[in-house]
């Protein structure tokens, strides 16, 4: 889930105030292009590749990555969306509600699934996504692509494709949007 979204929904609340811009919109596009090439290289083409964007921040990135792949490989890859609310391990610790739709357009059995998200932080969203994916079939492999890896992992999860490694302090917020990537903090309204 996009950190911007989470910061604006309960229970955190507050307003995101950017301190510094890390990547411009053009930098994000370059990183996406590189990651798309890496996906094609690593999977030896796109035959079995399915992109799955995590709601909500990963979805536009997955769509943009599919567009790049279409351009460079001349092949269109299926793009799905996944909302992991029902699989989170913090249900009850904080209010968890589905934010958007899940739509997996193909059977994942035997496919190479690339999960796409904007920010990798604790790894708990990815853990939930792995559980959710297993309900859609047995993928041959699941890979993880993130625009920003900000560290502070709480689970043994690592990304396969990274736009930018960005060391952060825990209380900082990272925002990925159409305008690029910025780092900032949450201020009470």
């Amino acid at each position: 889930m996009a950190e911007r979204e989470r910061s604006h929904s309960r229970p955190l609340g507050g307003v995101f105030v950017p301190h510094s811009q890390i990547l411009s919109a053009a930098d994000v596009q370059r990183a996406l292009t590189r990651m798309a090439h890496e996906v094609a290289e690593r999977n030896g083409g796109l035959d079995e590749v399915v992109l799955v964007g995590l709601q909500t921040g990963g979805v536009p990135l997955a769509q943009r990555m599919a567009a790049v792949l279409n351009e460079v490989e001349g092949e269109s890859v299926p793009v799905g969306t996944l909302d992991v609310a029902f699989y989170r391990d913090d249900i009850g610790l904080r209010p968890v509600l589905p934010e958007a739709t899940t739509d997996i357009p193909v059977d994942l059995t035997g496919r190479d699934v690339v999960l796409v998200d904007d920010v990798l932080f604790t790894g708990r969203t990815v853990r939930a996504a792995l559980n959710a994916l297993s309900d859609y079939g047995r993928a041959r492999s699941v890979q993880l692509a993130v625009m920003v890896d900000r560290g502070h992992r709480e689970l043994p999860i690592r990304p396969d494709y990274v736009g930018k490694n960005l060391p952060t302090r825990r209380e900082e917020m990272v925002d990925v949007s159409d305008e690029g990537v910025s780092i900032g903090s949450l201020v009470d309204r």
Binding site: G14, D90, P98
Partner: protein, 354 residues
Amino acid sequence: MTAGSAAAALTAEARPSIGPHLLSIDDLGRDGIAEVLRVAEAFAEVERRAIPKVPTLRGRVVATLFFEESTRTRLSFETAAKRLSSDVLSFSVSNSSVKKGESLRDTVETIEAMGIDGLIVRHPSSGAPHQVARWAERAHVINAGDGWHEHPTQALLDCFTVRQVLAERAGTEPAGTDCFEGLRVLILGDIRHSRVARSEILAYHALGARVTLAAPGSLLPPSLEGWPVTVATDLDAALAGADVVSLLRLQAERGSGAFVPSLREYTANWGLTRRRVELLAEGAIVTHPGPMVRGVEISGDVADLPVTVATRQVTNGVAVRMAVLFLLLGTDGPAGAVGRDAGGVEVPIGAGHG
């Protein structure tokens, strides 16, 4: 203002708060109904999966407490609870200590003492689930039908189904509640004894629909004062002017039979026959909460026409009840659990629902 209280304040405005119980449609209001429908849409997707089960309510225990006959409502709730991975206990009066003379209060307290998180109650007396909710200290109570009073989840799944059908026709995704604005809903049948009618009236009215009732005078409630409805004088005209017809069963077990001269006369004057179906406006939807009594309130061939969405209502019932269970039970923590508020301060959670 501390971080914690700021978070609490924002929590309240971010989403409509639902719970701790669902006893009446009035507990939800327009925003609450919209939220249930929104979350139910997410669960409808779960139901279409190869493995239609999510781990969301693992470790929670839900009990169905039915003091009255039911197959579809109980099965629907139990299916919903199981698809959320909660444990389900099924309590029916026929094989319980109620037979030995145990009072409702003692039954509820005994069940609660076992650490039940959700109580789904059906009772022949109006208001019984409200009483159970007053006694319950930790369990969330869901009214699955009380006497002539209310059956809120039925009304919610009716709204969900109507919205789904309307969205399909418009070629859009079901969302929001705008499609109910000005919708003409006709509730036809034994309204006097129907808890479904009372919940439907509240729900459709809250969503902005215009509700009309049609029934023989003896099967209308003794007083309609304060009800946001009009009563149809001419059934044929009312049918022609309806977008949705909610057909109700003649409730023989509540003595409806004594309110009409004969079943045949009821069918002739108030049943949905082939002739009356032809009066319906293009694209009208007929809902029925079930069980249908073919040949009484609906003729056998009409029940199978595509205008009748009863089967779809049953399917949607599971998704809507999953949403209700999730919204009530999924938002407080396991007993004794500790969470962190926005400021990183440890706070006890799930300590009752005050």
